[in-house]
Amino acid sequence: MRIVKNLRLLAGVAVLTCFVLAWLRFDTFGPAATLLEHTQMAYAIFELPLISAAIALIAITLTTLLVGRVYCSTLCPLGLLQDLIARLTRRFNKKPYQKLAPHASMHMLIFALAAASAVGGFILPLTIIEPFSTFGQIFAGIFQPLAARFFSATAPLLSTGINWFGQASAKPFSLLNSMISVLLLAGLTIAVYKAGRVYCNTICPVGAILRFIAKHSIFRLAIDDNACTSCRLCEKACKAGCIDLASKTLDFSRCVSCYNCAASCNFAAIKFGRPAATAGEKPDFMPGRRAAIAAIAGGAAGYALPKALLAASQSPAQILPPGAMTAERFYQSCISCHLCVIACPSSVIKPHSTPESPRSLLKPALNFDLGMCEQNCNLCSQICPVNAIQPVAADRKKLMKIGEVEYKKHLCVVETDGKDCGACAEHCPTQAVRMVPYHNNLMIPQTDPAICIGCGSCEHICPVRPDRAIIVHPVAQQTFIEMPEPEALPDGGQPAEFPF
């Protein structure tokens, strides 16, 4: 069993390393993230019509049905993060792990509430407790901005040539998001410090599903009564608190498959085996009726309450990523994993700074302080693990309208200072903002909203402060513009002689 544990450790370290590197340096390790997101339960469920999602779901289900919740200790980034936190904090807490109450009904209630609420149109509770998004929020809100600052500060030290360290640009800190991330990380750390993987068997929705499957696993870890000397080493090693040596039982539905118990046993008393259908087995897990009531009550409340309390989203207050289509659709499908936030090369995607409703809390929106939505880029739509940002082909993305321009002449440098500027028109990819003759030989911006894609180039580069002279408003529905056929230049052809 020690070998099995070491294999688990090896896989876990490799996967966590990939996740962490991808979240800290998406520009370099992005492919690792896109590869790993396809192994996630969130992807498998939310992208279900897709073949790859179905394969992922079947693979996870079959593995769990065969040997239990291997997923929780090898593929789940939050599970692995908890293991890392446990390793780092256990040295300060000498108190060994103890057996935990199953909390089956509570787990079911939380799961039912969150899942039904998501179905009812309010996905926020689910996205806060879902492990993949929680991991993403923690990294996008705390570690990634810190790492970006570190990389950009150290880049000039190392070299001015392009190198591994130099490619990250500073990411914006979002105070609200960082606060939520800190709360999530602090809560997780305290929970792990006190009671190991208690989150996985009380709150985690993926845990709730896998727990149900693992209850019926074909091969399960069990304590061999004849070999066991009741030394309690396994109980003290069990992060999930699912071993009860008083009755010499191992609740395999809650086991996260870390195999620490088996590795700690000096008498090889913990082994995989087919469960014996003995009458003596205590059915102490999931008293069917209570859990069923919890599920039904939670489901009903979760579905009904948001419907009654939250109005449907109309036009969003902030600009949504290209491919979000409508606020209603986007706020219902985004799981707030913030992969787009960390991946956006120009750092314009960040969580809503001032959410207009609970629906938009933690959801990504565009902010043009640090850049513009690059016309040739469709990265966010490629990587969104749940297609909340729909895939948009690169050539279509160039014409995708995510906002509309408003020019405020009274603030513009040309008007206030009588000086040429033209920064907005210079950056406009479609010439929805273009310079037209004005008095005193000046040129002044003129807008054509019909061909504006709302990329924010003009707003980003406008030099007027504190309020910019040109800004972009969100649109209720993302559409595609049609570019007019360009007129031929009046006089083409190579000149016969020099014009000077």
């Binding site: 520009d27 950009s152 500060a153 880049a155 000039p156 030290l157 001015t160 040539g161 392009i162 130099g166 490619q167 640009s169 090369p345 120009s346 850049g371 513009m372 690059e374 016309q375 040739n376 880029c377 440098v413 200072d417 000086k419 040429d420 500027c421 033209g422 920064a423 028109a425 210079e426 950056h427 406009c428 990819p429 479609t430 010439q431 273009r434 310079m435 030989n441 040129m443 580069i461 030099p463 007027v464 570019m483 360009p486 007129e487 031929a488 230049l489 006089d491 083409g492 052809g493 190579q494 000149p495 002689e497 020099f498 014009p499 000077f500």
Partner: protein, 310 residues
């Protein structure tokens, strides 16, 4: 590593990071200041027409006395093309990569120790570097692409002769190079009316918004008063963006002019370039402003122009 050596390492690193030598132009750099009077009977402007960009560059350099007149053995060269936009070479928004590559190869042939290339781009820098195909061209020629997207790569310098622009944060590579070759592409420009030699130097400073907010034309002209000027200016005017510049909407904005200009005088070369763009002489205010600051000559009748048609 024990604690003491760790602490000294960290403090050494910290010191390196914060330690910035004040920039002072060396005497020989000042001498490189673009000559308003051409030396040794060479033409002030060489204008070539009708060949491929590479052919025209070779002809222009020969007429100007060869690149070895400007690049000496063991020198550090900076080539500053326009890489401002995430556009392909066919779209005519960035300097032709084959021209960049050929020039770098010539620099090495003339004995350059290293050739660096950068631009403070408008679009995301990695996309610009790669889609302009300039990054690949530079690597193939053996040059180095430098980063320019962080403020820490820039050093503040004084421009005592500037009217509106008194200080500017200039890329360190500009200050540390022995030879600077300004290699813009000629384009229409919505704000500045034209982008060529002088406007291309907005890509070596950090805060372009400051130019726009203050007085775009005057700031462009003021920057030409910098002690260390481009040693040589070469304008790629093969495929010229005549409208919707500097980014361009489609290739319908381009006109094939098949020209290339070369001069040590930024003001003179921009005056000639304005004619190619069919602009009115007084339309591009920064040209007259730079001439008023005595950083170059805008009166083409006073200059020796060599016109070559291939």
């Amino acid at each position: 590593m024990d604690r003491r050596s760790f602490i000294s390492l960290v403090s050494a690193l910290a010191a390196t990071y914060n330690f910035k030598l004040p920039y002072r132009a060396r005497a020989e750099e000042l001498n490189l200041a673009s000559g308003t009077a051409a030396a040794g009977g060479f033409p002030d402007i060489v204008a070539v027409m009708g060949g491929t960009p590479v052919e025209m560059l070779d002809r222009a350099l020969t007429a100007a006395g060869g690149l070895s007149r400007f690049v000496k053995q063991g020198q550090k060269v900076l080539v500053k093309p326009n890489i401002g936009w995430d556009k392909t070479p066919e779209e005519g928004a960035n300097t032709n990569p084959t021209l960049v590559k050929h020039l770098i190869q010539l620099c090495f042939k003339a004995g350059a120790k290293e050739v660096n290339v950068f631009d403070n781009t408008c679009n995301h820098w990695q996309a610009c570097y790669s889609n302009s195909q300039i990054e690949a061209a530079v690597k193939e020629a053996g040059g180095t692409m430098l980063m320019a997207h962080e403020e820490s790569y820039y050093t503040e310098i004084d421009l005592p002769h500037g009217v509106a622009l008194k200080k500017a944060k200039v890329h360190k590579a500009w200050l540390e190079s022995d030879v600077i070759i300004n290699l813009p592409i000629l384009k229409h420009h919505g704000g500045a009316r034209m982008t060529a030699a002088m406007k291309n130097l907005m890509g070596v400073i950090w805060d372009r918004r400051h130019y726009h907010r203050t007085d775009l034309h005057q700031c462009i002209a003021d920057f030409t008063t910098i002690d260390k000027k481009p040693t040589l200016n070469i304008i790629d005017a093969y495929s010229v963006m005549m409208r919707n510049g500097p980014r361009g909407v489609s290739t319908a904005d381009l006109a094939t002019k098949k020209m290339l200009l070369l001069s040590t005088d930024m003001v003179a070369i921009d005056t000639a370039a304005a004619r190619i763009l069919e602009a009115q002489p007084d339309e591009i205010a920064y040209i007259a402003m730079a001439a008023a600051l005595n950083t170059g000559i805008a009166d083409l009748s006073k200059l020796k122009i060599e016109r070559i048609t291939i």
